[in-house]
Symmetry: C2
DNA sequence: GTCGCTGCAAAGTCTTTGCAGAGAG
DNA sequence: CTCTCTGCAAAGACTTTGCAGCGAC
């Protein structure tokens, strides 16, 4: 059985690059580059976790207490980033929507329905198989997402 | 390459069986078997889609207009069914929480971003691979969902 | 008859929106 | 300067809860 990769948090995109793309996007749409938008992007970039809007807001507040970023701005910026395909969102169960940067390597998610923990993995066999399927069905694949729901090792042991 | 199955709407569990399991579960916990609970289970059973609580409520209202089932009861029953592992809930993107019976076969989705058509498919290779992955990572799989986004054959030909 | 269940409405959450002042270009 | 963006608070959407009467057992 080929290896499954579960840790690959090297950024495939440098922050400078990401920031530049974001700035260009803003310019193209006549939007403005604000300190709040930068801080949100940067915080997402430096987090290895999937963040809820509230968690992101808390992180920003503790890191930049003087900025008083409003939760509404976090929501607005996340929507903007999601529409622009810079971040993607996942949501599940009672825990609400969680966001992560899309600039990382493509990966799938193992989601624990007990504790909400999300583990990422990449499996080249599944990727290959997806290509084979779409080819056979004459479907031109643009993107995909996969989530596996269940109970993680830790939560099983707790019981 | 093994076959890909794209139609598979047979139920793997008979309704009578499911209903009996549900009744037993209720009895075991000193809960009561009510017409509302039956209607909710039956409507879920007869739907091939993932339903939001609201959609389920609407379906029930139009099918049984005399029953006046409250939305609160739908929420309460869904929680009960989910705790009992009779239904599972998933949330895809922005659309909120959706429920489906856990008794059905797993399936994945090909979603055309041009025309919105959704094709369901099952691929035993991917299923096998998922089991292998979760086993290796000591994760107890309960459910999974996969979406492949792209352009379907018909829409490609139109261009 | 008992005690859980239901519908209703009120109360919570989470997210979005309206607005007036602040700030980027 | 102009016109977007922001924080705030209010509004909206979705979900849960309290309660009094109803109904399964």
């Amino acid at each position: 059985m080929p290896d499954i990769t579960t840790d690959f948090h090297d950024k495939t995109v440098k922050y400078e690059e990401l920031l530049n793309d974001f700035k260009q996007l803003l310019k193209k749409n006549n939007f403005k580059f604000t300190i709040q938008r930068e801080v949100i992007l940067e915080t997402l970039y430096n987090s290895d976790e999937h963040l809820t809007p509230e968690a992101l807001h808390n992180l920003i507040q503790s890191k930049y207490p003087d900025l008083k970023t409003g939760i509404a701005t976090v929501y607005r910026t996340l929507s903007l980033l999601e529409e622009s395909n810079i971040v993607t969102s996942l949501s599940f169960g009672a825990q609400g929507k969680k966001y992560e940067l899309g600039a990382k390597e493509h990966h799938d998610h193992l989601i624990c329905t007990e504790c909400g923990q999300i583990t990422e993995f990449v499996d080249s066999e599944i990727e290959k198989r997806q290509h084979a399927i779409t080819e056979k069905l004459n479907f031109k694949m643009l993107d995909h997402s996969m989530q596996i729901y269940g109970i993680c090792k830790e939560c099983q042991e707790k019981k």
